[in-house]
C-alpha cells in the first residue's frame, strides 16, 4: 500500500521532474519530441482534472443539500446553474452564436462577472477612506506615492497638475520597478527551492495526509 501511495508518486515526480529540467538544456529532436508528448499528456490530464473537480464540487454541495446545512439554498442554485449551462452547452455543441448557451453567456455570465468586478471600485473607495491614513512615516510615503500615481495616470490629473504624469511615470519605472524586481527574484528563488524539494521528495505535502515533510 505504501508503495502505491508514497513510493510510486515520489518516483514519478523525481523522474519526470529531473527529465523536464534536463530537457530544457537539450535541443535534440528526441528531447523536443519528449516535451511535445509531455505537454499533450498534461493537457489531457488537465481535462480529466476538470471532471474530477466538478465531481468533487457536486458531491460537496449534494451533501449540503441532503443535510440541509446552513446556506443549502445556494448549493441548490449552484446545481441548477451548473446543470442548465452544461445542458445548454451540450445542446448547442459548444457554439455560442445564436444559441441559448450564447444567450446565457452574454446576458448572465458577462453581467454577473462585470457586476462583481465593478463592486471593487466601491469597496476600494470605502476602504481608502477608512484605512489609508498617515499613521507612520512609511504609511505616509505609500500614501503620497498612491495619490501621485492616481493623479498622474488620468487625463484630469495631468491637466490640473502639470508634471504629475511624468512624476507618476518615474514612480512606476524607478521605485516600483526596483521593488518588483526584488519580489521577482525572491519569488523565483523560492520557486526553484520548492521545485528542488518536491523533485527530491523533501516536500511531500502534495501527496496529501497533512504531512508536509
Amino acid at each position: 500500500m505504501r508503495f502505491w501511495q508514497q513510493t510510486l508518486p515520489l518516483l514519478i515526480t523525481f523522474v519526470f521532474g529531473l527529465a523536464l529540467v534536463l530537457q530544457y538544456y537539450v535541443p535534440h529532436p528526441a528531447s523536443e519530441h519528449f516535451l511535445q508528448e509531455i505537454s499533450l499528456w498534461s493537457q489531457i490530464i488537465a481535462g480529466f482534472a476538470i471532471v474530477l473537480g466538478v465531481g468533487s464540487l457536486l458531491s460537496t454541495h449534494y451533501q449540503k443539500i441532503t443535510r440541509q446545512e446552513a446556506g443549502w439554498g445556494y448549493s441548490a442554485v449552484l446545481f441548477v446553474s451548473l446543470l442548465t449551462v452544461f445542458g445548454a452547452g451540450l445542446w448547442a455543441e459548444g457554439k455560442a452564436e445564436g444559441t441559448f448557451f450564447g444567450w446565457l453567456y452574454d446576458y448572465v455570465l458577462v453581467a454577473l462577472q462585470g457586476t462583481m468586478f465593478s463592486l471593487l471600485a466601491f469597496f476600494v473607495a470605502s476602504a481608502a477612506y477608512r484605512a489609508f491614513r498617515a499613521r507612520t512615516p512609511e504609511a505616509t510615503i505609500l500614501l503620497s506615492a498612491a495619490v501621485l500615481v492616481m493623479a498622474g495616470r488620468v487625463p484630469l490629473g495631468e491637466s490640473l497638475l502639470p508634471g504629475v504624469g511624468t512624476l507618476a511615470d518615474w514612480i512606476m519605472t524607478v521605485p516600483n520597478t526596483a521593488a518588483q524586481r526584488g519580489i521577482l527574484i525572491g519569488v523565483s528563488l523560492g520557486a526553484i527551492a520548492t521545485s528542488i524539494k518536491i523533485i527530491f521528495g523533501i516536500e511531500r505535502a502534495y501527496l496529501g495526509g497533512g504531512d508536509g515533510a
Binding site: 493537457q43 488537465a46 453567456y105 468586478f117 470605502s126 477608512r130 500614501l143 495619490v147 495616470r153 488620468v154
Partner: protein, 274 residues
C-alpha cells in the same frame, strides 16, 4: 470641532457608494474629452506593430474573462483594427475557457469591420486547455496543439497559417491578460524558449509587475488598464470605449484622492485617535 472630525471619519459607507456612482455616471453622460498622453510603453507596442512587414503573423492571446472586459476588450478591438489595417495575419486564441465566446465574437467583428477573410487573413483557434502546457504545446507544434480551429477546420493547410509551424514562426505575440495564465505565462513558457517578440496588455492593477520585464526589453510594449487602451485608441485616431471611460476614471480617481485627503485631515485634527 474634534467631535465633528470624528463623526466625519465614521461616515456611512453608503454615502461613499453614492458619490462613487455619481463620479462614474456623470462623466459618461457628459464627457469632458480630455486629451490622453501617450506613455512610452504604449508607443513601443504601437511602433512594433507598425514595423512589421505586411502578412507578418501576429498571435493574439485573449486571456481574460467577462470580469475584465471593460479594461481589456477595448485593447482587443484596437489591436485588431491596427493589425488588420496593416494587413497582418492574425492568429487568435484564449487560455481562459470563460473568455472563448467573447474572444471569438471580438475577432469575428473586428475582421468583418476590416473586410478580412476567415482562414486567409485571420483564424480563431479557440480555447487552449492546460494553461502553460498549451503554450509549450504551441511552441512545439501548432498543428498538434490545435489540430482544428474553433470553426472545426483542420489548421494544417489553412492559408493564414502558411509557414507557421510553431511559436518560433510568430513575428509578434500579444497577450491581453487578466491574471494567470496570461502575459507572464507567455513570457516564462513561450518567449524565453521559443524566442519570439512578446508584448501585451493587462489590467491596471497588474501593470506594475511587468515594468521590470519592460525595462530589460524582455517584453516589447505594454498597455496598462483602461488608460493603455485609451492611449492606443488615441494613436489610431479612433475614439472608442476606453477613451470614453477615461473621464469616468479621472473623476473616480479624484474622488478617491479627495476622500483620502479628507480622512487624513480629520485624522490629524482628531489628534490621531481615530
Amino acid at each position: 470641532m474634534r467631535e465633528f472630525t470624528l463623526r466625519l471619519l465614521q461616515l456611512d459607507r453608503r454615502f461613499i457608494f453614492v458619490l462613487m456612482s455619481v463620479a462614474t455616471v456623470l462623466p459618461l453622460l457628459y464627457p469632458l474629452g480630455l486629451p490622453v498622453r501617450i506613455s512610452p510603453e504604449t508607443q513601443q507596442l504601437y511602433d512594433t506593430l507598425e514595423r512589421l512587414p505586411e502578412r507578418s503573423v501576429v498571435l493574439l492571446s485573449l486571456d481574460y474573462d467577462p470580469a475584465s472586459k471593460p479594461e481589456l476588450h477595448p485593447m482587443t478591438v484596437s489591436l485588431l483594427r491596427h493589425a488588420f489595417a496593416r494587413n497582418l495575419r492574425v492568429v487568435a486564441l484564449t487560455l481562459w475557457p470563460t473568455g472563448t465566446s467573447m474572444a471569438e465574437s471580438a475577432v469575428t467583428r473586428g475582421a468583418a469591420e476590416a473586410g478580412k477573410t476567415d482562414g486567409t487573413d485571420y483564424v480563431f483557434l479557440g480555447y487552449g486547455p492546460g494553461e502553460a502546457n498549451a503554450i509549450i504545446s504551441l511552441g512545439q507544434s501548432l498543428a498538434a496543439a490545435f489540430p482544428a480551429d474553433y470553426a472545426g477546420r483542420k489548421t494544417e493547410g489553412l492559408p493564414v497559417l502558411a509557414g507557421v509551424h510553431s511559436l518560433r514562426d510568430i513575428d509578434y505575440a500579444l497577450s491581453l491578460s487578466a491574471g494567470f495564465p496570461g502575459l507572464d505565462t507567455w513570457y516564462v513558457y513561450g518567449k524565453e524558449k521559443y524566442g519570439f517578440e512578446l508584448g501585451g496588455g493587462c489590467t491596471a492593477v497588474s501593470a506594475p509587475k511587468f515594468y521590470p520585464l519592460l525595462q530589460t526589453g524582455q517584453i516589447t510594449g505594454l498597455l496598462g488598464g483602461l488608460r493603455g487602451a485609451a492611449e492606443y485608441e488615441t494613436l489610431l485616431n479612433q475614439t472608442g470605449k476606453a477613451t470614453a471611460g477615461m473621464d469616468a476614471q479621472s473623476a473616480t480617481h479624484f474622488l478617491i484622492i479627495g476622500l483620502i485627503v479628507i480622512c487624513n485631515v480629520c485624522y490629524l485634527l482628531s489628534g490621531r485617535k481615530a
